[in-house]
Amino acid sequence: MQNNNNPSNKEIENEDLDLRVKIAGVEWKNPITTASGTFSAKESSAFYDLGKLGAVTTKGVSDVPWSGNPTPRIAETYGGMLNAVGLQNPGVEAFISEEIPYIKKYDTKLIANVAGHTLEEYCRTVEKLNDTDVDMMEINISCPNVKEGGIGFGTDAKMAAEVTKAVKSLTKKPIIIKLTPNVTSISEIAKAVEAEGADAVSLINTLLGMRIDVRRGRTVLANKTGGLSGPSVKPVAVRMVYEVRKAVRIPIIGLGGIMTGEDAAEFLMAGANAVAIGTAALINPTAPIDILEGLKTYMKEMGFQNIQQIQNAFCD
């Protein structure tokens, strides 16, 4: 397939590349964002210019501060990791006064990830974010590490629809619903949230997993179970993006184990309109921009000049 997308056969330069994508009416300069939970504005911006990314997605924010789960919260697995952080965050007030102005210094789009235990909690946070400079909101109905809620909303199509409807009625900002892979049919959930007006979906959140230390006879994580992420989940994520693409028309932000520019291209071919970088950034803080550079290199080698050409090159 090499270079047959570039009929003129002229060498493609960086300035020939158009990486812009439009997600629910918001234009990103490129299709790369960060995955919620793996990005911290202050910490990450020490290592790269956030303005190089299409968007940044913050850690989950809730209406009041959450202290998260006990430790150990992290366990390594073969080609992946389990986490049970439990959405520790300082609450929406601190988020509005500190995180938003910090990120807004950079030329990038800001996606606030919203967490909650109950419908009311999601609604309160969305209402508070409504009058801020947040560009989009991503509703986390899929965290496997928070009891009473989170994933409870994401595994039931009716409840997922209900959350979507409720938050859509409160804000004009584009709403992205983040979906869990821990379901029988992710397409059903995607269709349900699309029907209630979701502007986009992001997938996948982590896969529910567990590790037992057989020398100690106890689970490695204090929370017992945690969310699996990293390159070992990528095939599952690609398959789910592919299924959801066939089920809905709204944009998809694809994520799950993306480590390279070519991994990002794989999600775009599967049907994603943009991609998020998560675990890779925990291993190497500059991963989001390294992957962006990798995607550009891939595009030049393949003769693609824009993102749609990558998507169109998939022979399904």
């Binding site: 939970g37 910490e43 998260g68 366990a75 952080v85 925990l282 291993i283 803080p285």
Partner: protein, 262 residues
């Protein structure tokens, strides 16, 4: 922009006690910026081992860093196979080290370590003695002690305890300190949590405070994942907050740590 990853070249890597290795790395930028009490993240060549291994800095010598690590799993097993000339990927030194400004020339310090928490005491002892501070080191092990000679060479008066009683005092470091009536102007420690907890209680009873390096399972090592937290009680507000061991620590004041946090 801050630099994160650097390359390091292995100069030596030898077993100094059962399942304990001492590795010296040539890594100019990292060594020049390193402070006692910091750690580096080492990346494995086996890519199925995704996460970096945080290892405390034992000794800083010009362009070289010496790390002493326990072989406890697949990652550190891989580390133990490295030899002269091998290149590895490493982070720049991470975390806040010990605060040495709390002691002045002519004063005394007790540095206390347990097991694989002993290595950072070496650079600490060296840094303190350089300042003209009298250092007493109290180190505890399950069975086999290590780094005794380097600690003495760095200028410490040394006390050793073992759980098995095979070397030195039979018991733990707190009992040893009590028996020997060891006191100082400043206290520093690194070791397993139960030891740090007992030690903090002991030092607080003497109306002193202690700088302790907390251990916690880490993810990223730079503060993004919020995996490694410990509960700290803010001295002014009295509020309990979960702080990141990798970024806000690993060194905290013993009096601030909430040991029984849920």
């Amino acid at each position: 922009m801050e630099k994160y990853r650097v390359e390091a070249r292995v100069l030596s890597n030898e077993c100094i006690a059962k399942d304990v290795y001492q590795m010296t790395l040539e890594c100019v930028d990292a060594a020049l910026s390193a402070k006692c009490g910091q750690f580096v993240n080492l990346y494995m060549k086996n890519e199925s081992l995704l996460l970096p291994r945080p290892i405390s800095i034992c000794w800083i010598d010009g362009a070289k860093l010496t790390l002493v690590y326990g072989m406890v799993g697949k990652g550190t097993e891989e580390l133990s196979t490295y030899g002269f000339g091998d290149l590895l990927q490493m982070s720049m030194p991470r975390g806040n080290g010990y605060d040495l400004e709390v002691v002045k020339e002519g004063q005394s310090a007790l540095v206390i370590g347990g097991g694989i928490g002993v290595p950072p005491l070496l650079e600490l002892t060296y840094a303190l003695t350089q300042k003209g501070i009298k250092v007493t080191a109290v180190i505890g092990f399950q069975e086999e002690p290590f780094l005794m000679k380097p600690l003495i060479k760095a200028g410490a008066d040394l006390y050793v305890a073992t759980d098995s009683g095979t070397s030195g005092f039979h018991g733990n470091v707190v009992d040893l300190m009590e028996q020997e009536k060891l006191t100082a102007d400043a206290y520093f420690a690194c070791g397993p949590k139960p030891m740090l907890n007992a030690l903090t209680n002991f030092v607080l009873q003497q109306k002193k405070d202690i700088q302790i390096s907390m251990e916690e399972r880490m993810g990223c090592g730079y503060g993004a994942c919020v995996g490694c937290v410990c509960t700290i009680r803010d001295k002014e507000s009295g509020l309990e907050v979960r702080k990141k061991v990798c970024k806000d620590g690993p060194v905290f004041w013993g009096s601030e740590v909430v040991w029984d946090a849920k």
